[in-house]
């Protein structure tokens, strides 16, 4: 199952650990609105609850994001997926993979878990139709061995949604 797979699980580097500890503290002081992180002793995998923003198609709905950090975070982006059931959204595949440029090609080490969360909520909030991407079935079928979305060569389009 995709959701249980992680990218090659090398332990976090010292730099990554330091940075994540800082992010964790910052999160606890100032969590992004609409998100809850159930803190565990696993710094390398965060599971975050997302509440659909009021007044949007996802209002009163709750989803879970799973964030896995690579050894060399933040030089590399974390892997971010929705745990099932993933929200119905034109850029979110039924296996939880998210088509969002900042998670892949447009990642920058100045970004944080918190800023990713805000981008994802904004992506959800701007959706005008609850539907899967047009190529959902094909994509998901090709991911069935638990491939990470980071191995996908994504093509990004307009960011209207």
């Amino acid at each position: 199952m995709t959701s249980s797979s992680a990218p090659s699980r090398k332990a976090l580097s010292k730099i990554a650990t330091n940075r994540l500890q800082k992010e964790l503290v910052e999160w606890q002081v100032n969590p992004p609105a609409g998100f809850k992180h159930k803190v565990t002793d696993n710094l390398q995998r965060w599971v975050i609850e997302v509440n659909g923003a009021p007044g949007t198609l996802y209002a009163n709905e709750t989803y879970q994001l799973q964030v896995d950090f690579p050894e060399h975070y933040p030089m590399e982006a974390p892997q971010v997926i929705f745990l099932p059931p993933a929200p119905l959204h034109p850029h979110i595949y039924s296996n939880g993979h998210i088509c969002l440029d900042i998670l892949y090609d447009s990642w920058s080490p100045a970004m944080t878990v918190s800023s990713i969360c805000i981008s994802i909520l904004s992506m959800l909030s701007s959706s005008t139709a609850k539907q899967r991407p047009a190529d959902n079935d094909r994509y998901v079928k090709n991911c069935r061995n638990g491939r990470s979305p980071k191995e996908t060569r994504w093509w990004f389009h307009d960011d209207k949604v």
Binding site: A110, E151, R153
Partner: protein, 322 residues
């Protein structure tokens, strides 16, 4: 009737078409075969598997380029394997295939519209064969190309040059710096008064150990995405560059910013050092273009790409032109 290969024989390391219903290779009679359709289909092909009709033309042009390149190399070796005549006919006569390009043991499949197939996995050695005959070719050189095509983690902006990084000024953190940029944007540690930091042309400052590893991968300011200038500019006009500073605040320039993506795209094309390997349009003259290749068959398009939206253009790639 189709002459298309249906299976990969792991013993012969080439694609085969089974005879009858037995799952054995017609060449070696061993059963270590796998249906091509079942095979994992990944990387290099991601560049060319595009979902929409209009893109098949481009996909086909890449195939055309590959085959032209292979032909050229075969001719270079002049081993009596000159298949130019027949290959040139391929685009106009799609049924004549298949043409196969492969390397290594676990092939990947690329199916063109006209009985073209290409199989490779990026390991050293590329082969080419047609019609099950087995007149294939293994050659060096292409492996870098395919390795590059299949490497999936070199995305985003290309690395900054060593010289441009060396030319980046080192500054001493003053109170003025602390007022505007109190923390290093990468490690999120506080800057210490009097300590050293590196300053990008956009004025964003970082610990040297934080920014250099990033720039060595991607020439892009983590905060605003501005690039380090090409070397030469940097030393002579370093001071004037500061006037180009785009934004000193980090708030708005992030994320799904269209400009950022535009840059990524351009640089993506620019940095392909192996583009020269492509034979371009010169020998793939067969005027295939969008129409002929694009409409003949509604086949294939199975891989791990996602493309529910407009595929990216590959600016700078020769087969993008024309």
């Amino acid at each position: 009737m189709s002459s298309r290969n249906t299976h990969w024989c792991y013993s012969c390391r080439r694609p085969v078409r089974l005879r009858g219903r037995d799952a054995v290779c017609p060449s070696c009679n061993l059963g270590f075969v796998q249906e091509l359709n079942d095979m994992v289909q990944v990387s290099p092909l991601d560049y060319i598997h595009m979902g929409s009709d209009e893109d098949r033309g481009r996909q086909f042009r890449l195939l055309d380029s590959i085959s032209a390149l292979m032909r050229q190399r075969m001719v270079d070796r002049s081993n009596g394997l000159d298949i130019r005549g027949r290959s040139d006919a391929l685009p106009e006569h799609p049924g004549i295939g298949p043409l196969l390009i492969f390397g290594g043991q676990i092939p990947l499949r690329l199916s063109g519209n006209g009985g073209f197939e290409a199989l490779f996995n990026g390991t050293p050695g590329i082969g080419l064969t047609r019609n099950n005959v087995g007149d294939y070719f293994i050659g060096p050189g292409l492996e870098e190309l395919f390795e590059q095509l299949s490497t999936n983690d070199r995305r985003g902006p290309p690395p900054a040059s060593r010289s441009s990084m060396d030319a980046m000024p080192t500054i001493k953190i003053s109170n003025r710096h602390l007022r505007s940029d109190s923390h290093c944007p990468v490690c999120k540690d506080k800057f210490e008064l009097g300590s050293e930091a590196r300053q990008m042309p956009c004025n964003h400052i970082y610990h040297s150990d934080c920014i250099i590893p990033w720039l060595s991968q991607h020439n892009s300011c983590p905060v605003c995405r501005q690039e380090l200038p090409a070397q030469g500019l940097s030393s002579a006009r370093r001071s004037t560059n500061r006037s180009r500073s785009s934004s000193s605040s980090s708030s708005s320039s992030f994320g799904s910013n269209a400009n950022g993506r535009e840059n990524t795209r351009e640089s993506h094309g620019r940095r392909h050092p192996l583009s020269y390997l492509w034979p371009f349009r010169s020998s793939s003259s067969s005027s295939n273009h969008n129409g002929t290749a694009g409409t003949s068959s509604p086949t294939v398009h199975e891989n791990n790409n996602h493309h529910h939206h407009h595929p990216m253009g590959y600016t700078g790639w020769p087969f993008d032109e024309g």
